[in-house]
Amino acid sequence: MTRFLSLTEADRKEMLGTIGVSSIDDLFEQIPPAVRFDRELDLEPALSEPELVAHLEALAARNAHTGAELSFLGAGIYDHYVPAVVDAILSRGELLTAYTPYQPEMSQGVLQAIFEYQTAICELTGMDVSNASGYDGTTVAADACFLAKHVTGRSKVVLAEALNPQVRQVVKTYAPGFALEVVEVPHRSGVTDPDEFREACRDAACAIFQQPNFFGCLEPAPDLAAAASEAEALAVAHVDPVSLGVLEAPGAYGCALAIGEGQGAGNYQSYGGPHYGFLAARSEYIRRMPGRIVGETIDAAGKRGYVLTLQTREQHIRREKATSNITTNQTLLALAGLVHLSWLGPEGLRELGETCLALGRYAKERLQSAGLELAFPDQTTFKEFAVRVGRPGAEVVTEARRKGVHPGYALGRDYEGLDDTLLVCVTERRSPAEVDRLVDVLSEVAA
């Protein structure tokens, strides 16, 4: 008997008697002998709790985390400060161990939290409706394409090349099944040209650009949105929630949809997951939204309450016409995002954005003074920027790490002509003194 199971020998005997069989084996009689597994599972012996913790500590110790190394890695996942209230609330057992809130009377806490999350996302993005979360910042892009195809009847989707490479790769993976044609618009000196974008958007269902883009550069977002809309394609902005205290909301400059990776608001980096994607839209798309949505209503006494709503979209009588297949989503991580945004408040979010802007400016100026060249010097950036290091980026990373600093993401893997370029990210967790350390190390290892 393992420590998670409670049945004693006496319990088992009594239960087998009630069922009317003599042994547990009898319960498995319906499994044909040909498919019975006749040996023991070839797994290592069970570990006691202390041994288990020791084993996992040993594995964890072999990872260079941001406490062990001064890190300027960003590229879609960010080292922002996660406040203690997030940990405290996520460890509440009721929230941690509840299921999807199908029975609303048992789950008003989760339902109200999701309703509040939906509200927060709408406020950040300037949209009318948000779902309860998607898997991550990449799959929500596929969701957006699926929605756009249903709405417009068109099968072409346009992606800016300056959109996160993994986002583009996920869209391309889903494209054959959705019967989508994917077209990419190359970046020009780190940003996307609205005229080229407009040209590509002809006959497109949607067009997705990122703000700030993968290089940290600020795109001419209102012009890109207009370019898509003029072609009657849905304009989709992939945005950083942390930026939306200082950057304009997609809903304010003509976008149909706003999507993104929520991790920077409330989640630890955790080697890439679990995190949460967000998807918000203008009200006319509400019945095409994928994923769960929570709505407000009343009970028989007129008391206000919350329920999963618009669910029948998932139970289309022609079952294959459902808006998506998502069931389990990322509620707990989205809740963390809500808590973080509530902790920040509008003033805190603005301040966070200003700090990232100020640190970014400081880092760029100091690096340039030290003789390093920016890859896109004419562009305004938020939180990240690309710097040329005169040698293959991966080598510079290796050598810098030997000096205790991870200087950033080597862009050569994803973009042509950027083999010698690193994407440097400076969040509010890096001080000016730490930026100085980065500058010293890069000066030593760059060519």
Binding site: R3, F4, S6, V21, V35, L41, L43, P45, A46, L52, H55, R62, N63, A64, H65, T66, R92, G93, L96, Y99, P104, M106, T119, Y135, T138, T139, Q166, Q169, V170, A179, G245, E248, A249, A252, S270, Y271, G272, G273, P274, R292, G295, T297, I298, D299, V307, T309, Q311, E320, A322, S324, N325, I326, T327, T328, L332, V339, L341, G345, Y362, S431
Partner: protein, 504 residues
Amino acid sequence: MELIFEKSRSGRRASTLPLYDLPPGDLPADLRREHPPRLPELAEPEVLRHFTELSTRTFGIDTGFYPLGSCTMKHNPRVNERVVALPGFRDLHPLQDEDGAQGALELEWRLQEILAEVTGLDAVSLQPAAGSQGEVTGLMLMRAYFADRGENERDEIVVPDSAHGTNPASVAMAGYKLVDVRTDKRGNIDLDDLRGKVGERTAGLMLTNPSTLGLFDESIDEIQRIFHRAGALMYYDGANLNAVCGISRPGDMGFDIVHINLHKTFSQPHGGGGPGGGPIAVRKTLEPFLPVPAVTREGDGENVRFRLDYDRPKSIGKVRAFTGPFGVFVRSYAFIRAYGPALKEMSEVAVLNANYVLARVKDAYELPFDRLCMHEFVISARNLKRAHGITALDVAKRLMDYGFHPPTVYFPLIVPEALMVEPTETETKETLDAFCDAMLAIAREAEEEPELLRHAPHHRPVGRLDEVKAAKRAVVRYRFEDHPDWSAEPVDAEPRQLEAQKGA
């Protein structure tokens, strides 16, 4: 209870951030935010109280018995929460160099090996973020496999009529056509119906075994022969894997692709609706098509290294960022290491518990299939509906008054007034007995005091909520000054609920 936005007061704030004495950064005026987002303004004590109150209005496995069929609501071991928070896992950036992430990569590799052993298959990808994403990924693998072989005319997937609602949606998302096959009186796939539907256009079968009825398909051997003879593949929906770990392996049953729900069988906490994990295991012939990167091991002894291999020219691509939801892997890995080969006992007790509850309650309800069940069972409240006008929904709501979370209702669709019960292995006999007593009491109440059921629940923060109003009015965010005032709305003494599936 107020919304957090309603508690907000201008000027309050819970956060403090480092402020550096630096000149501000630049932002072009046309890109700068004009109106700040209306996020809540509260100091820390109120933030904490608000979310604490929300948690008290939520019922979790930590609160009590939660027999949602097909969801496997088992205990979530607390040590898993401690280890996932180790800085070496929690604060590790996914783009860290391989040599700075060897502990993480080793954990992923080991988990892959474990899942291959449990499923009886050869290669695993941990990338999909949930079971339904695992399904679409599996179907994409089928498409890539057949395209590689030049068999492009295969455009149909066979799905039983008892299937989980995500299966047909996944089929559509992967660009396939759905072919329904009937379930027979024993709860197995109707083989005669099946034979007529499998042929040259068939790409594969999607099946859960045991099925959503909690029954092991007795003809599984014949089924796999029918599909493999037609050159098609077999896909296993692992939602019900909790019944058969160490007892029967999907690979041995003849399945070629399997997805596993880490948040069901392997104890990742459900979190109110996620996160989950939906890794897939496949036969060797399908390995080249798995998502990138693959997590591999090189060398041995002192020189073992764990790598991310992107050189997979036949890969379908990526379904999610990075290698997948790593925090979920840590918990599932820790869960499995705490069991070792005794995972078999986990399944045995899950099946014992379900059969015990079935034996005690079946005479008070209708039993659609008179067989021993596996880890879950389906009964029908149709007898109560005919005799007393009491529905499965009424039974579910009344169970709340007894302190239990209801089972899944209105699923599977082929059973009217369905109640799907999955106790899981982590419950005591006393809890099971209390639940059975309640189910029997409710059946009696249906006859003697039906009004008690129709207006249940009586002891929750809200009564039955009007889901029809919610769907019509579609109030899906707080609207501040424009937020609707429900006090003017006519109240329905019998609020209408959706007869939609609740659970699974």
